[in-house]
């Protein structure tokens, strides 16, 4: 019985998502701004409601549930922006409950849960490309909004920028802004990513927004964004697990079917061993991701944020290894975009780069540990001084 990947979080949600993702046609350009049939199906299934609390009309389900969705989509290299729309944006909005932005956040959460709104979270830059200045009672933007994932249409954009609103003393603060997509003009550039994701750059110069668009600022904005991105990173890892598991299955299948020199490729030990290396890395990665998802269910702590960076760093390496091995083991056909295994490889690579690539997480780990070491060293010095 050849290898078959076992889902990390089996259940109805996994099974249903898998079926829908399996049926999705491969489209490399979406004409106009209409949602794909697959995305409509995902919305109808209530995937955007999974992580939204019951008090806001959501399912109030666990992170494991949305991780099941991510793994299932990963198995079919689905480029749908489900991590951003179903997890990152809801996490970000939920973090604002009880703040001044409570009303705006919860109203949007309710629409998201109903599938009537969909918020594209753009949190990769801390807003350096985009500045806000006070304008009447609100703010006026200057610069570009870069890299919005609009593979499926969004009704809202959630992003960071730098600047001030009316009445601010400090003119250079981080602002977390929520704006309707319609407040911005059409995209100036559209791009296809390596795995078929579609991102756009939007000219934001001259866009004016009311003061209430600023959901949070300063440390609060940065922390909310960091936590939401951490959830994004964990779910990107779940997508990678799904993709790598399927890559191993398909590679084994191909090596068993393809004959050269009168024998199946699967009879060559060198090729078998390379699959084994993928498999061992997969088992470790799968275990890590599963554990991390369960650990995160009680909420994010600084120690868990460190674990997320360790996870994303590690899974990024796994994704790269598996992607490159899969292509190599398929030979020429591995270069074809029409080969599902090649699309999985591109998807895994793409996920390894989203919500912080390995270098962003490496640097964060080093900073975190150095900070802790410095603090411990300081504490040690204090103790010695006290003892003296």
């Amino acid at each position: 019985m050849p290898f078959h990947a076992e889902p990390m979080f089996p259940g109805d949600l996994y099974d249903t998502t898998l079926r829908v993702a399996a049926d999705a046609p491969v489209a490399e350009t979406v004409p106009g701004d209409a949602p794909s049939a697959t995305w409509n199906h995902f919305l109808a299934m209530g995937l955007q409601a999974v992580l939204v609390g019951e008090e806001d009309g959501g399912a109030g389900a666990s992170l494991a549930d949305i991780a099941a969705v991510a793994e299932a989509c990963g198995r079919h290299a689905s480029p749908a922006p489900l991590v951003s729309r179903c997890a990152v944006a809801p996490t970000l909005l939920a973090a604002l409950a009880g703040t001044a932005a409570d009303g705006a956040a919860r109203s949007l959460l309710r629409d998201i849960a109903l599938g009537e709104a969909s918020a594209c979270a753009l949190l990769d830059s801390d807003g350096d490309d985009l500045r806000a200045t006070a304008h009447g009672d609100g703010l006026r933007l200057d610069g570009m909004l870069r890299g919005a994932d609009l593979t499926e249409p969004a009704t809202h954009l959630l992003f960071l920028c730098r600047g001030a609103v009316a009445g601010d003393a400090d003119g250079d603060d981080t602002l977390l802004v929520l704006a309707p997509r319609g407040a911005f003009p059409a995209a100036t550039s559209r791009y296809l990513g390596i795995d078929g994701r579609q991102t756009v750059d939007i000219e934001a110069g001259g866009v004016t927004l009311p003061a209430a668009s600023v959901l949070a600022r300063g440390q609060a904005a940065r922390e909310a964004a960091a936590q939401a991105r951490a959830i994004g990173a964990v779910l990107a890892c779940a997508q990678i697990v799904g993709a790598v598991g399927a890559m191993i299955e398909q590679t084994i299948d191909y090596l068993g079917t393809r004959h050269q020199f009168g024998v199946a490729l699967a009879t060559f030990q060198a090729l078998r061993h390379r699959v084994v290396e993928m498999y061992v890395a997969y088992e470790s990665a799968r275990g890590l991701v599963r554990r991390q998802v369960l650990d995160l269910d009680g909420g994010l702590t600084p120690a868990l944020l460190r674990d997320v960076s360790l996870l994303k760093l590690s899974l990024s390496a796994t994704a790269r290894q598996a992607a490159e091995s899969t292509i190599q083991l398929h030979g020429g056909i591995g270069m074809s975009r029409e080969l599902p295994a090649a699309r999985l490889a591109m998807h895994a690579l793409s996920c390894s780069l989203q919500w912080g690539d390995r270098f962003e997480h490496l640097d964060r780990l080093a900073r975190t540990d150095r900070g802790t070491a410095d603090a411990a060293a300081d504490a040690g010095t204090d103790a010695i001084l006290v003892a003296a």
Binding site: D124, S189, Y191, I194, R337, D357, F359
Partner: protein
């Protein structure tokens, strides 16, 4: 002991001056940007070389070549790569040209060689088939004699440049008797012959490089048979044995290493002095050392080849080492280009300006270079060749 005078000193100087003055700057800029080189760029450079009498560095003088030895050919490659001149298009000059020179009739030589030299006729290679990749001798495309024509039916795959080629040198099966190698023949097929259909293969790199070529009752005049009927495998093997050292690979790698080093300095990953930067620097230094090692391996192999003592495993070792090195280098480039460019591989809003963006070209190249360890003898096949030599069996 004083070092012996460099016998190639004035030759180097001549090459350098030519590369500096004769390759148009826009062409160099194109090469520097790492975009995919098409027939237009190749041809512009080939015309310059032809005018100078350097059209074919690997051909004998009597057929319009330079008659250079391997050492001189290496210097030519090194100096032109360093100056960002395009490489030469290899299918005509490097592959079918020498085969026609050796096995072709006088009529074939007169018909085909001059147009390879001046760059006016473009060739592609019809070898691989869906069922015959590493195991090339299993090919099935058939050629059946009908009067003074062969009628060809079958399918080729991974045919680079078929979309822009005028001619395809094609391995076909003329007999299924005896050893499978014995029934293979080499035919020169004009691409505008009725019955040929070229379909692009969409690849992960989003560059149009390879195609499927379908041949349906394609009538090819018998005078386009190279060598004897059933002698195709001999021609193909002649090519492999003769062209097993490619003097161009290492100089192009060295240039890529320089470019990646520069990119790391300018863009980096993370802040200057960050752990990310250090990780990438180590990988770059290892690759730089690898390029130096590859250069020595190649120069040593060139000496051995000129003495006629080069073992097959040495050229396989070079192919293995250089193709993996090119992947290491382009892997660093991908890490520097990072999420920003991986998400922006293809500009679907059709803005021409961004085409010249080096980082985007490097992501294309990273994806394209996955084929470096697959095409032209996969790494796995090379390892088998080397191991047979090392173990003596």
């Amino acid at each position: 002991m004083p070092q012996a005078a460099d016998p190639y000193l004035s030759f180097r100087e001549e090459l350098r001056q030519f590369a500096d003055t004769q390759c148009p700057e826009p062409l160099k800029a194109f090469v520097r940007s790492n975009r995919k080189i098409t027939r237009d760029e190749y041809r512009t450079w080939q015309e310059k070389l032809f005018a100078r009498g350097w059209a074919a560095p690997n051909w004998p003088v009597e057929h319009g070549g330079t008659g250079w030895d391997l050492q001189q050919r290496y210097l030519f490659e090194e100096i032109t790569a360093q100056a960002d001149c395009p490489p030469q298009y290899h299918h005509g000059l490097g592959h079918i040209g020498p085969v026609i020179l050796h096995f072709g009739t006088e009529a074939q030589k007169a018909r085909f060689l001059p147009r390879i030299l001046d760059g006016s006729e473009w060739w592609c290679q019809g070898y691989s088939e869906p069922g015959a990749g590493s195991d090339l001798a299993s090919l099935k495309t058939s050629a059946v004699r009908d009067g003074d024509h062969y009628v060809v039916n079958g399918q080729k795959i991974w045919t680079s440049h078929a979309q822009e080629a005028d001619m395809m040198y094609t391995l076909v099966r003329t007999s299924s008797e005896g050893r499978k190698q014995a029934g293979i023949s080499l035919l020169l097929i004009p691409m505008d012959t009725p019955g040929i259909e070229v379909r692009p293969i969409p690849t992960i790199d989003h560059w149009h490089h390879v195609n499927e070529v379908f041949l349906n009752d394609v009538r090819v005049p018998c005078e386009n048979l190279v060598g004897e009927e059933g002698g195709g495998w001999t021609c193909a093997k002649f090519l492999l044995d003769r062209e097993r050292l490619s003097p161009a690979t290492v100089p192009r790698l060295a240039r890529l290493a320089e470019q990646v080093g520069q990119l790391l300095e300018e863009r980096g990953a993370g802040r200057p002095g960050s752990p990310s930067q250090h990780v990438l620097m180590e990988r770059l230094y290892l690759a730089q050392a690898g390029v130096k090692g590859a250069r020595e391996m190649l120069l040593g192999a060139i000496q051995e080849e000129m003495r006629g003592t080069l073992a097959a495993s040495k050229s396989s070792a070079l192919k293995l080492f250089c193709s993996e090195l090119s992947q290491q280098l382009i892997g660093i480039a991908l890490d520097i280009a990072g999420p920003t460019y991986a998400a922006r591989l293809v500009d679907t809003s059709g803005l021409e300006a961004s085409e010249a963006d080096l980082c985007r070209s490097l992501v294309h190249t990273y994806l394209f270079y996955r084929s470096r360890t697959i095409a032209g003898g996969s790494s796995e096949v090379q390892k088998n060749v080397i191991a047979r030599d090392l173990f003596g069996a």
